[in-house]
């Protein structure tokens, strides 16, 4: 039953106006709201499933605390995620819905002025890179985020229909920060 809200929203959004974008604005707003509610409830279900798989801390001791529940950041497309921006340490969980292994470059929005240690589930350090968020993204109207960089690392061979997890720790270690920081060049145009 927890999936019904998303299923019903998807059903309504099969209407040709929703598919093609030809609805009036107030109808479009309603479509967005239905979809958002459905996705939110489904994400809660996925988070609960993670806790049963012991993917979430405390999942084997009567369920995790609210603060320990995974969050799905829908504003990653404007490089914004409150959890990764505010936390000194956090874990990144990547679920692969393909039926074969795949690799994926994770991009995690983070504030500048620090370095980030990335560790895989076996305790190995993972190579990572800090990439500045483009100025145009920082200026997107309505974007409310402290992230000025994206932490990029490679999640290698995520198992089919399975998970990989990484631990990210913020550090003031200047060596880390220097090693991770991208080289930035601004070539002058000839004309």
């Amino acid at each position: 039953p927890r999936l019904e809200r998303l299923k019903e929203a998807m059903g309504v959004l099969q209407h040709h106006d929703a598919v093609s974008g030809t609805a009036k604005q107030h109808v479009t707003n309603d479509y967005s709201e239905r979809l958002s509610q459905g996705v939110s409830e489904s994400f809660q279900m996925v988070a609960e499933a993670y806790s049963k798989l012991n993917v979430v801390e405390g999942g084997d001791e009567g369920g995790p605390e609210a603060a320990e529940m995974p969050v799905f950041c829908p504003l990653l497309n404007v490089s914004s995620c409150p959890t990764t921006e505010a936390s000194e340490a956090f874990t990144v969980t990547l679920y692969n819905p393909l039926a074969r292994p795949r690799s994926f470059h994770a991009r995690v929005p983070v504030p500048g002025g620090a370095g980030y240690k990335v560790t895989d589930h076996q305790g190995h350090a993972v190579v990572s890179q800090l990439v500045p968020v483009p100025d145009a993204v920082l200026k997107v109207p309505g974007r409310n985020s402290s992230a000025t960089y994206e932490l990029v690392f490679l999640a290698q061979d995520i198992p089919p229909l399975g998970l990989l997890q990484f631990h990210v720790q913020r550090t003031a270690n200047l060596r880390f920060q220097k090693e991770q920081m991208s080289q930035i060049l601004r070539p002058e145009r000839s004309h």
């Binding site: 093609s20 030809t22 009036k24 479009t28 996925v46 993670y50 801390e57 603060a67 320990e68 995974p70 969050v71 799905f72 950041c73 497309n77 404007v78 995620c81 959890t83 990764t84 505010a86 936390s87 340490a89 956090f90 874990t91 990144v92 969980t93 990547l94 679920y95 692969n96 819905p97 393909l98 795949r102 470059h105 994770a106 995690v108 305790g123 190579v127 890179q129 800090l130 990439v131 483009p134 100025d135 145009a136 993204v137 200026k139 997107v140 109207p141 309505g142 990029v152 490679l154 631990h167 720790q169 991770q180 920081m181 991208s182 080289q183 930035i184 060049l185 601004r186 070539p187 145009r189």
Partner: protein, 294 residues
């Protein structure tokens, strides 16, 4: 005279024109050297037809129909300001055409896909003209005979021929819109045994190939008139008192990227699956250090 960006001895190399900051060629870096292929990419906009819909010829461009005023798109700007960002995993070229059109060209180490992340909006309308912004990729010196291929609403790739319909005689009075087709995951062109290219998208868009070697996708539209097909509103979405900003990704593949293990069809089929079913990413705050978490 050019700017070359690559990440070591494997993956893609990208060449930019130093005068304009625009893409000039791409190539695969192999142990025996690089073979560069010429390709240009830029952003253009069509002026949306205005009109009161009193007669067919005064029909406006709107939510239902794309109807540009004139047959040619105008460049958003002749050149882009460029910043190059490089590191051990990814090289990025941040290009800014105007405050409302910018892009990141992205090459990951050892990956043979050119990623173009576009950001368009808020589209200005102070001049009273609705605008429809497209990204156009041009492979110079390639003959494609007015033919291109698009996938159609979950069906197979369908052959499209400029100004032609396979089952009836077409008299095309809309030289641009009459050649636009739905592009749900990819637009492919082919120019002989040595040239195939695919432009893949992350959402359904409209697209075309108006000239030899051209690939064009519509990204974002802001229009000032209703097209009188039933919406009753112009396609002028506003947020925060301005037009909407949209961001998305296009991916460019060339048959040179193929190898013995994966031919060109395999390349765009595999990438299509990966784009359709991306990993689901979640984050959890933790107080534990890495060793305790493990």
């Amino acid at each position: 005279k050019d700017i070359e960006v690559n990440l070591g001895n494997q993956g893609l190399a990208v060449l930019l024109d130093k005068d304009t900051g625009l893409l000039k060629s791409i190539g695969v870096v192999r142990p025996d050297g690089i073979t560069m292929v010429k390709v240009n990419q830029t952003y253009l906009w069509y002026a949306g037809m205005s009109g009161n819909n009193s007669q067919e010829e005064f029909r406006a461009s709107g939510a239902y129909i794309f109807r540009p005023d004139g047959a040619h798109a105008r460049p958003v700007a002749a050149a882009a300001n460029v910043t190059i960002v490089q590191g051990p995993l990814v090289a990025e070229i941040h290009q800014v055409w105007t405050p409302w059109v910018s892009q990141v060209i992205r090459v990951y180490k050892e990956e043979l896909t050119l990623e173009m992340e576009w950001l368009v909006g808020p589209i200005p309308i102070n001049d009273g003209v609705g605008k429809e912004v497209v990204s156009r990729v041009v492979w110079p010196d390639i003959s494609t005979n007015g033919t291109f291929y698009t996938d159609a609403n979950g069906r197979e790739m369908i052959k499209r021929v400029k100004n032609y319909r396979p089952t009836w005689q077409l008299h095309n009075v809309e030289p641009v819109a009459g050649n636009y087709y739905p592009v749900n995951s990819r637009l492919v062109i082919s120019g002989g045994p040595d040239f195939q290219a695919a432009l893949m998208n992350d959402r359904s868009q409209g697209g075309t190939s108006l000239d030899d070697g051209h690939m064009e996708l519509m990204l974002h539209r802001r229009l000032l008139h209703d097209d009188a097909f039933g919406v009753g509103e112009p396609l002028n979405e506003t947020a925060f008192g301005e037009g909407l900003v949209a961001r998305g990704k296009l991916f460019l593949l060339h048959s040179d990227f193929a190898n013995d293990d994966c031919d060109f069809g395999c390349l765009h089929r595999s990438l299509g699956e990966k784009l359709m079913l991306e990993p689901v990413v979640s984050f959890t705050a933790t107080s534990k250090p890495a060793h305790a978490w493990r």
